[in-house]
Symmetry: C2
Subunit: 324 residues, 2 copies
DNA sequence: TTGTACGCGTTATCAG
DNA sequence: CTGATAACGCGTACAA
């Protein structure tokens, strides 16, 4: 079914049908006729041909490191919700935590082409910077602050600081910190720096040998915690850079250090729902992940439709959650 | 940059450039020239124009109920992995658990058009059936058995039966079951039926008033468990149709029935990693979710590329996991 | 091996 | 208001 055939069946020109479809001038009489034919044939205009003409795909590329993570999937849920409502489709690429692939996909999308790009970032290399700057379509970065594009991110530093103050007040012995690579400026550097600043305010710190660096996985959290507790016996709080790592820490306590379990508090980041339900809630930080997805998508759509690319930086709030 | 401009700069015809791009006859000499021009200009052929001509989008539509669920995001991860490797892009639509939207998106994709469709299904209505049958592109359904399309699903019935036998052997008092809607034939009907069959084999059953129906959420699991335990005092095992519901049950036990916590065992379905780490592992069933995503994507690509649409049904195995 | 010319299904232009 | 007709950028018979 093409627009021409429809035009033929309705006894009008293809232009009239096109106008009918896109809200141009068509007499009531012909409208009626066209609508009937379309109804009967179940005709749908070809998106491809339209795109070729209009250069608008109503497609948004979304690049994520890995979809099976609570925080990322929540962000993605928010994105999908907005995009769907606004009549956009989401082209999703997962990079398996490989920054090289991230760049690769951004290039593919650049050319696909999509109307805009959403990047859920972990690290931003110079490569990323270059693409962000040279991009021909609007881009919104979610999860990291950057001056090279619009971005929406969480206030990791102050959240971590507040948590650090809480931990500093609470601890009577030694405090350990299991972080992630500082190349991730948000989850790595900002959280660690903020946490230490908070501790410092209470006259505490993380001493030499009490700091570990883990991957973004439970297994890694488990391993690092085990290594930590085997060496040190005077820890009463282990703060982790993510709830996933914290879950690994809890696992280690449950499996290998049952005797010390009562004496050690674990804290996390991200307010994982499973963790909260099952443990009754460890001290953690709640970020509005879904909200950041929603806001990010809204920002992007606005940039696309207003056709103005004034970079915007939005910092989202947080809530430190603990029972005491 | 269009193919014509490139042709002009290289002093050849646009056809030559096209052939160069698609591996046709081009003399070494011209190859050299063209490659240089392309290199210099950073030219990329327009995907849209190509699609218009070839009718091949290298796009696969993926329809999921909700991305922020461990099982679904694991499946999606598997899909993304395969698709990326094979040079396909994933067009993702989330339906927010609304079967109406599911149908809607399948229609959109049908026309977009995509080369194939992957549907992670919960319920299959007659509407779904109709689309599955009339579809013009290959479709693979993941997570439900159906005769109307190729599908890949888990052996929910037998897994549940084996778990039922375990529970039947273990229980000394009453057994409760928190299921989900039987409209979901896999997670609803098959698991419940299998579970009851397993119990039956041990001379046990779920008595009147010990059966609840929950949504696919932790909150719902929490509510139903609370309601159940407030009414009944002789339960020693609560089996849940998903690990998410089980997490809600554990939450209820921890918050509201701390005194009975030791005496009640919770079982689940899905082998949620968080749950396993934090609780030390409740009895549950492990399904290869990521595997089903991988297999499903592979099946679909094969159907697309071989251009043969012989429906295939693949049933994946399972592993009942419990410590005793 | 090469280039010309046409067609894919729309939308935009412009004369009626 | 309406209908030809020319693009959009590419692939591919076909003739050379």
């Amino acid at each position: 079914m093409t627009i021409k055939e429809i035009a033929g069946l309705a006894g009008v020109s293809s232009a009239a049908v096109s106008r009918y479809l896109n809200g141009g001038y068509v007499s009531e009489e012909k409208k009626e006729k066209i609508s009937q034919v379309i109804e009967k044939t179940g005709y749908r205009p070809s998106a491809q041909a339209r795109i070729l003409r209009t250069k608008k795909t109503r497609l948004v590329g979304v690049v994520v490191p890995k979809i099976s993570s609570e925080s990322i999937s929540r962000i993605t849920d928010g994105i999908g919700q907005v995009l769907g409502k606004e009549g956009y489709q989401m082209l999703l690429a997962t990079t398996d935590n490989d920054p090289k692939k991230e760049v690769e996909y951004m290039e593919i999308f650049e050319n696909y082409p999509v109307d805009g790009l959403l990047l859920i970032a972990t690290m931003l290399t110079k490569q990323h910077r270059k693409i962000l700057k040279e991009a021909k379509v609007p881009i919104v970065v979610i999860g990291q602050q950057t001056d090279d594009a619009s971005c929406i991110y969480h206030d990791d530093y102050n959240a971590a600081k507040e948590l650090g103050i809480f931990v500093g007040k609470k601890s009577k012995k030694k405090i350990a910190y299991i972080g992630v690579t500082r190349e991730d400026k948000a989850a790595g550097a900002a959280r660690e720096d903020g946490f230490l600043a908070g501790l410092g305010q209470e006259g505490k710190t993380v001493e030499e040998g009490y700091r570990m660096e883990a991957e973004f996985t439970m297994e890694s959290g488990y391993e690092k915690t085990k290594a930590l507790l085997e060496k040190k016996c005077d820890i009463d709080i282990i703060s982790c850079a993510t709830d996933t790592i914290a879950a690994g820490a809890i696992e280690a306590l449950g499996k290998d250090f049952l005797d010390r379990r009562k004496d050690i508090m674990i804290t996390g980041f991200g307010d994982n729902q499973f963790l909260k339900a099952v443990t009754g809630g460890i001290p953690t930080v709640h970020f509005g992940y879904k909200t950041s997805g929603i806001k990010g998508a809204q920002m992007l759509i606005e940039m696309i439709e207003k056709e103005q690319d004034i970079p915007m930086q939005v910092k989202l709030g947080y809530q430190v959650r603990h029972a005491w």
